[in-house]
Amino acid sequence: MKLASKELILKILGFCALPLIWYLMADVFSLSSPLLFPTLKSVLTRLCNILVSESFLIDFSHTVYRWMLGFSLGVITGTFCGLIVGMSINVRKFIEFPLEFLRSMPVTAIFPLFLIVFGIGDPSKIAMAFTPTFLLMLVNTSYGVTLADITRRRMAFVFGASQQDIFFKIITMDALPQIFVGLRLALSQSLIVTVVSEMFIGTDYGLGQRVYDSYLTNSITSLYAFLIVLGIIGYLINKALLMIEKRYIFWTAK
């Protein structure tokens, strides 16, 4: 069997394994209480109903708006600051302690602080998505800049590159793979924090709020259906980013 087709079969099996186990346990053998672990069929039916409902689009767009705004702001500012930190050993030493301190603090634990500063509206949720993104981008970008190959910098210098050329054409390009590592980590972290902030802080619209509502109303099939939706969103966005990475950072896999 060819390696590619073997890989494809394994991927399909991996994709089917979880639903199959669920189906056998809940639908066929009824091994657990439907209140705790509903049948796959009922969850999928509920999922279809949610996906075609008008309210889903509103919840989805609100969550994505908070997530993407926080994420984008974090990426822009974090990458910019990371480039500065990476370029200067003095700034790096100066920022080391505060950065490590902030990174060690779970963002979800400081959500009351966000409430005090930004209130209970969207700004606090966006700020919560922004924070881990900013920190992850700052750390990974500065790390990428620090690791940028010295031989390439010297080569560019020898051939007459200005400091600006070396920064944009060598250092930034060399840092790109590590910047993408930060992007992927930040993307999933910011989604988690956005959903958690919607659950903790509360909102009229948002997928996190729907998950929490389902829990409060004991609607277990809805709870599972919303969790599947969140899983699919995270998975697809991560896959899209991986495809972009493969297309534009093609040399890192070699």
Partner: protein, 251 residues
């Protein structure tokens, strides 16, 4: 072309001054091929890096009849890491011209000319990360030559290549340097290579590095690999071995 006078280099490590280069005096004539031979870690690369402007001397002077900053080609020992993996073979070769904002038409013309002059054939669209060691080094050589440098520095360019590739590239560098009338500084820790390529061989001592001897090699060009088995070559090598024995135990 290049006059190096009383050049010294030292640095302070944990409060202790470490001398790398000690009072180097050297003349490099225009269109000459100078090989620099010395033990590992003696400061050969430091010397050429100072000439190239990549490092600074603690004292002494380097004078040149041409502006080295704009007339320099450099082939690094770590050739793979000197290439830009996000660019194709063609764009890596053209990189120095792109830095000088040379027009596309002129870039294409320069590329065609240098390929014709050197006789090197490469798949220009290929990504550099998929090249073999020898091909990657050819890209580096073309990149150094495309600026039509007056001075070409090669820092142990064949150290990581197999014997077959090394032989091929030695002959290529030897013929190109004469064809393009280049002034070449070539670092080597291979005695055969140093004699085979050079018009003159500079023998360096262990650190703190001094010049132990400068030997003129009066062997005819073009040189081919069978020269290394000739009587004249062996005499040069026997004499050189004496300098090496003395130079390496200089201190």
């Amino acid at each position: 072309m290049i006059q190096i006078r009383n050049l010294s280099k030292s640095y302070i490590l944990k409060g202790i001054t470490k001398n790398i280069l000690d009072n180097i005096n050297l003349d490099v004539a225009e269109h000459s091929f100078t090989t620099i031979f010395g033990p590992n870690g003696c400061g050969k690369s430091t010397l050429v890096n100072i000439i190239a402007g990549l490092d600074t001397a603690t004292s002494g002077s380097i004078q040149s009849t041409t502006d080295l900053r704009n007339n320099l080609g450099y082939v690094f020992q770590d050739y793979r890491r000197s290439l830009l993996p996000w660019k194709s073979v063609k764009e890596n070769i053209l990189f120095p011209l792109r830095l000088k904002r040379v027009s596309n038409v002129h870039c294409e013309k320069s590329l065609a000319e240098i390929i014709e002059l050197t006789g090197i054939s490469l798949d220009l669209k290929q990504n550099v990360f998929s090249l073999s060691g020898g091909q990657a080094q050819l890209v580096c050589i073309l990149r150094a030559l495309i600026v039509r440098p007056k001075l070409l520095i090669l820092d142990e360019p064949f150290a990581a290549l197999d014997y077959e590739k090394t032989i091929f590239l030695r002959e290529l560098i030897s013929s190109i340097s004469k064809k393009l009338a280049l002034t070449v500084l070539f670092i080597s820790h291979d005695l055969d290579e140093a004699i085979y390529l050079g018009d003159q061989v500079i023998f360096l001592t262990n650190a703190p590095t001094k010049i132990d001897n400068i030997v003129k090699i009066d062997l005819p060009f073009p040189r081919e690999q069978n020269l290394t088995t000739s009587k004249e070559f062996i005499i040069y090598k026997e004499n050189a071995l004496e300098y090496v024995k003395r130079a390496f135990s200089f201190n």
